[in-house]
């Protein structure tokens, strides 16, 4: 059965970091419509530190690697993004503690634990107009792909599409979580910045995998 190794996870996170850093400004713009315009900066900040300290990250196993990423993200991502992305990584790290490879089904469970971590910290659910509206559909799609016996490449491509669709749908929701909630119905017709960002990140990860 196809599995991915610690080094594959490292490559994925590396692509993720690059996409986030390249898109710092566009991600800020996404947050300007109904948020406070700093989303791109907040996430990029942590991922820049991650890249800078890349060589010092633990590579002993997937769990240790994700945990060392999570510590940096928690410390250096600003705003809501620090605890959200930090808890996602820390929670995924817990799931993958000691593991050096994952099959697709396990990878989907790792994503599910990231979702759980975010929900435990921030209390949002599907439809609250947060990045969960992209992350949960991707996770569900990965689980389906695992059941269908797809390859990682196929699963990532379909999973990214689910994120993009989920993000698009946030345009229709009045926000309840995060700053977009403060403008009430005026946030309708603007998508959620975090969800849109995940759509873009997952798409590039799938392309480069």
């Amino acid at each position: 059965m196809e599995t991915i190794k610690t080094s594959d996870i490292m490559r994925i996170i590396n692509v993720m970091a690059d996409v986030i850093i390249e898109n710092e400004k566009p991600f800020c713009d996404l947050d300007s419509a109904a948020g406070d315009g700093d989303f791109g900066m907040s996430v990029a900040k942590g991922f820049k530190v991650l890249k800078a300290e890349w060589d010092d990250l633990s590579t002993a196993n997937i769990g240790k690697f994700l945990r060392s990423c999570g510590m940096i993200i928690t410390e250096h991502c600003g705003g809501a993004s620090g605890p959200i992305w930090g808890s996602a990584f820390m929670s995924a790290a817990k799931y993958s503690a000691g593991k050096i490879e994952l099959n697709l089904s396990e990878f989907a469970e790792l994503m599910q634990s990231a979702v759980d971590g975010i929900q435990k910290r921030g209390g949002a659910k599907l439809g609250d107009k947060t990045l969960l509206d992209a992350l949960i559909p991707t996770t569900e799609s990965l689980k389906q792909s695992a059941l269908a016996g797809s390859s990682f490449k196929e699963a990532f491509t379909i999973g990214a599409r689910a994120a993009v669709e989920g993000a698009e749908k946030t345009k229709e929701y009045g926000a309840t979580k995060g700053r977009a909630s403060y403008v009430g119905d005026r946030s309708i017709s603007y998508p959620d910045a975090g969800a849109m960002a995940l759509g873009i990140i997952f798409t590039v990860i799938a392309e480069k995998f």
Binding site: C28, D36, M41, H76, G79, A80, P83, R121, K177
Partner: protein
């Protein structure tokens, strides 16, 4: 973007250093975790910590000092400080009486201050309580939302909880009086221009020459409605109406008010607004105990202002009138 600055990424640290250098007798700044704290800490009083994104100067570092905060944790512009920053602030100012975190109700701040409190409580011997300020009546407060934002009313929480802590109250008593302030304080604001986040370099939104945003927060979020600009008298009555609808005041009730500028609005205009507000309160026979006019909780370089009203009882009045000696507020 026209700003007095060097590089955007150095702005918060340079600003904090510049502030500490202006008040070397009373403040210490710790750049690694961007913590501004009192030079002389009293280990036998409840420690008060607040903070949040930068861009609200003088909040919160300007309220560090006798009778108010022990430390302020400074995030990047409009971004909550990280869990690790807050955790370090708790450790650096720990006291035998415990620590109260005064958090403005934003998901980012709540998540980071909560996580920091959990981390600190996992260590032994640290007792950490939290209050969440949510005074902004522009935002609907319901079960289905994250609730109202914390804005300028936070300064009243700093002042009154600070006075209680200075007077020797224990942690739960300081928390209780902070929550009493939160229950009795409401704010409403409007913007005449957008602010410009330094790292972004362009205004977050644009308004026509005759437009204002009514119901804005302090992070450049658009308000609840875009309207034609009205006179100071009309502004005062719109602001007060929104506040009193949520916090009814009867004839003879005593209040304190804060007319707060958002950064680019000069004192000249704030005093004109205060004149209108004060006259309105007098006409409603609401008794005005104390007034604050100035820039307390800003939104970088936004033109605009907010009105905060705090309903007082004897306890709150005493604590509001108690001495405070900070760079931005002096009683």
């Amino acid at each position: 973007m026209k700003k007095i600055m060097n590089k955007a990424e150095d702005l918060v640290v340079e600003m904090c250093e510049g502030m500490q250098k202006a008040y070397p007798r009373s403040l210490v700044f710790e750049p690694k975790y961007k913590i501004m704290r009192r030079k002389e800490l009293n280990k036998d009083k409840v420690s008060l910590i607040s903070g949040g994104g930068s861009g609200h100067e003088p909040a919160h570092a300007g309220f560090v000092g006798t009778g108010m905060l022990d430390a302020a944790v400074c995030g990047d512009v409009f971004a909550s400080p990280s869990t690790i920053q807050v955790y370090n602030a708790i450790n650096q100012t720990s006291s035998s009486k415990g620590t109260l975190l005064i958090v403005k109700n934003y998901s980012g701040d709540c998540m980071n201050f909560d996580a920091a409190a959990e981390m600190a409580e996992d260590d032994e011997d640290v007792q950490v309580e939290r209050v969440y300020v949510n005074d902004d009546v522009a935002v609907k407060d319901s079960l289905y939302t994250v609730g109202r934002r914390g804005v300028a009313g936070t300064v009243f929480v700093h002042k009154i909880a600070g006075a209680a802590a200075e007077a020797g109250s224990d942690l739960l008593a300081v928390k209780a009086v902070a929550e009493k302030v939160i229950a009795n304080v409401r704010s409403m604001g409007f913007a005449l221009t957008s602010c410009t986040v330094p790292a972004k370099g362009t205004p977050t939104f644009t308004l026509e020459e005759d437009e204002m945003e009514f119901g804005v927060g302090i992070h450049g979020e658009p308000g609840i409605v875009r309207e034609k600009i009205v006179s100071a008298d009309e502004l005062a009555s719109k602001l007060l109406e929104k506040i009193l609808a949520d916090l009814p005041c009867d004839q003879g009730d005593e209040v304190a008010i804060m007319v707060n500028g958002f950064g680019a609005t000069p004192l000249q205009e704030l005093f004109v607004l205060n004149n209108s507000v004060t006259d309105l309160l007098a006409s409603k026979k609401i008794s005005l105990h104390r007034t604050f006019v100035g820039n307390y909780m800003t939104s970088i370089d936004m033109a605009g202002a907010s009105l905060t009203l705090l309903k007082l009882d004897a306890e709150l009045k005493n604590l509001l009138d108690a001495p405070a000696d900070t760079s931005a507020l002096h009683v």
